[in-house]
Symmetry: C2
Subunit: 448 residues, 2 copies
């Protein structure tokens, strides 16, 4: 774990020449080749400290947290960071520059072959006034893993982390003001795309890594309405979920999210686009998300784009268990929230003495395959205690109902959440927003 | 089958105002909304006849067929056709305009969630001087199917066909000259991407359909060197394939291209990016393509991005069979070349009398699952006659060798090709390049 605070190394040359278009065309890339290091033998590594800075001349207004603009999830902050890579030269110097459109050729690999991956993390404005990331190192390491799976070039995760911190340091004070936005957050999206203009199906030889920060609604606060407002038109049954807790529609066998030997573990675009039809159908039928099952056994894998946890009492041992799907088959995303829930449960809920802190019965953490029939049996026998989804976008989201093979299975809740979900959420909130000092909270040193 | 010739309906308004940038940003899209039809109840359909035409002022030179530029697969013709769609208005009027860069927002759906699909077809300059497409209607229908799988909007395939024909009519004469390029082709790439700027994982509300035409090398003529020149640096064993015939590396169990319930049947980007690592490894080991297997039984599915055929004598009946994987599980791309090989075999090779045309023994067409162990057994018993890959890019490509679980299996050839592969290829060449009049050849009426 990186100790807080980390100072972004944004000591590169400042080039405050007005806003320039970001050209991803070949000519644009050649024009901005790094000065030296033209040797193909020693490709230039990604280096945050060589970043150039070009600040905007046209700063934009910050939308209110509950505005339509924020809910549309498309308003980004004043700046972005980009870093180009070519097979012949390696990484160019990253640029912090005004947020704006890219110029990209119609033949670009990313538009045809889904040569793309991304990360999602949040920048939190703490109740103590500090700006923090949560386990940002994990996101940067996963981004490297995703890039490798989708044939994008390698980089040192710590350098990406520095770039993200630099953008947060630049735009955090204005877009997440200390005095009015305590408890708020921005959504940070590192993205990596192959920009090579060539239609051959091959490893891309040109790519662009970029980081943007967007205004996002707090979807964990509005479980009754997790869909962006524009989607609600599709979800005519949306009002059914006015009570809290996610209503999940279990996927049918003719629609699977991921498979062994595939890429379900990586945060590549190819896992998301193909899920939209099933997700749209679920919403149209009044459900919040798809519960992705796998195989004839109906193994439970993920809920929407989040990991899925269930708390139930073991039939054999009588012990209370916190169960989630294992990573071994590589069909599950290795979620940062997932890992954190497991870590916190092991640390604070495993044995009776520490359980006193939460007042909850101890649970044993089990990462294993489990099936829908198992959950149905546990529910029928009163052994099912609660279930929740865990991820960055939806945070800790209690589950109220699972629709499986024509039947509704109600999942127990304690008011608006299960008790374990509530507990994990509070523990995480305390770290993310600085109520409790913890190594997972990485403080951003802001610009004045 | 559409009878030839088809006249593209490019009778839209000509607006020869100099080249304008193609803006995929929200502002750009709003700026060009169709005049009326703002009603959300009656969304405007895709309509090729409403196309506007804006010709280039800066025509570019045509590269030679064997030039490095052609081999790089990125030089496109002078023009492209684009058509925008929004959820609120439906389809805008298509535009035939100068080929050039798009302006796209960093938040565009296609860059994050692989909301993209495409088609690949060739425009042939016949030996009779005519310009032809081959079964173009099939490509347009498949594009619609792919769009549906990846949550992109619907359209009438015949309208896309008219747009493709219009582009071919515009640029064909110059880029595939009648007097010097008989027997040549251009590669046509209809592409469909979600351009909506919003990070929410949801059905896109803005999209762009576009058609470009690129200069492409004839990969079927250079089986010994199917990789673009730039790739040869990676393929240090490339010289091993100097003899003709593809050398395939069977995929291992930890690398699966597609799965039932997934999207292997659709031409979506999400099938291609995730295959690049395995493909790059195959090339680095001196193989031409990956032979994609499925399951513990090692079912043979596809070869690279082509369908795979094998000719072997049945152990049971003693009959000669042309076998390829079935479409029922939807893990196989429904290839146009695949369908054509099957159709031709049924029509011209099924019974003895017609077989006289080719001088070949009749074959029975069988679409069924088959495994690598089956092929190994057939080879050991002398029942394996030949194998070939079939697709648009590689055309009919004979297979010389399959490397499976540490061993090389040689596939019989008759000189530089199996006899059936040679026969199918010649039959298709005759249709594509107009040696033989056939309903599959769709003649393009060129501009003067």
């Amino acid at each position: 774990m990186a100790p807080a605070p980390i100072t972004p190394e944004s000591s590169g040359t400042t080039t405050p020449t007005g806003s320039t278009a970001t050209s991803l065309t070949k000519a644009g890339i050649e024009h901005t080749q790094p000065n030296s290091n033209g040797s193909t033998e020693s490709l230039a590594p990604l280096k945050a400290s060589s970043m150039t800075i070009n600040l905007t001349n046209t700063p934009r207004p910050v939308p209110a947290p509950d505005s339509a603009e924020t809910k549309a999830q498309k308003t980004c902050t004043d700046h972005m960071i980009t870093a180009r890579w070519t097979a012949s030269h390696g990484w160019e110097a990253p640029e912090l520059k005004p947020y704006g459109a890219f110029s990209i050729m119609p033949t670009a690999s990313v538009l045809h072959y889904a040569t793309e991956c991304f990360e999602g993390l949040k920048l939190y404005r703490g109740y103590d006034g500090a700006l923090r990331f949560f386990r940002i190192g994990k996101n940067c390491q996963r981004m490297r893993k995703s890039a490798s799976r989708i044939a994008l070039p390698d980089f040192e995760p710590a350098e990406l982390e520095k770039m993200i911190l630099a953008l947060a340091a630049q735009d955090g004070a204005k877009w997440l003001p200390k005095d009015t936005r305590a408890g708020g957050f921005l959504y940070v999206r590192p993205t990596f795309i192959a920009t090579e203009e060539a239609l051959g199906v091959q490893r891309p030889k040109e790519a662009l890594l970029y980081v943007i920060m967007a205004c996002f609604p707090d979807m964990s606060k509005s479980l009754a309405d997790p869909a962006p407002p524009a989607l609600k038109g599709e979800a005519d049954g949306g009002s059914k979920s006015q009570t809290s807790g996610l209503r999940l529609l279990a996927s049918s066998e003719d629609s699977i999210r991921a498979w062994p030997g595939g890429f379900g573990y990586a945060k590549v675009g190819a896992n998301y686009g193909p899920s939209l039809v099933a997700q749209g159908e679920a919403r149209a039928r009044g459900f919040d998300q798809v519960l992705w099952l796998f195989g004839q056994e109906s193994y439970v894998t993920e809920a929407g784009a989040s990991n899925f946890f269930v708390v139930m009492r073991s039939k054999d041992s009588g012990k209370l268990q916190l169960i989630t799907a294992p990573l071994g088959e590589r069909i599950i995303l290795e979620g940062v929230t997932r890992a954190s829930v497991i870590d916190l449960a092991n640390e604070r809920l495993a044995a009776a003495p520490t359980a006193s802190e939460s007042g909850l019965e101890p649970v044993e953490v089990v990462e294993r395959r489990f099936t829908m029939p198992e959950l149905l049996e546990a529910q029928a026998e009163g052994r099912l205690i609660e279930a929740f989804a865990a991820g960055t976008a939806f945070f800790i989201a209690p589950v109220a109902l699972i629709h499986f093979r024509g039947g509704d299975m109600e999942v127990p809740m304690d008011g608006d959440s299960g008790r374990y979900a509530r507990c994990f959420k509070q523990w995480l909130v305390d770290i993310m927003w600085g109520n409790r000092s913890h190594e997972w909270g990485v403080v951003v040193e802001e610009k004045a």
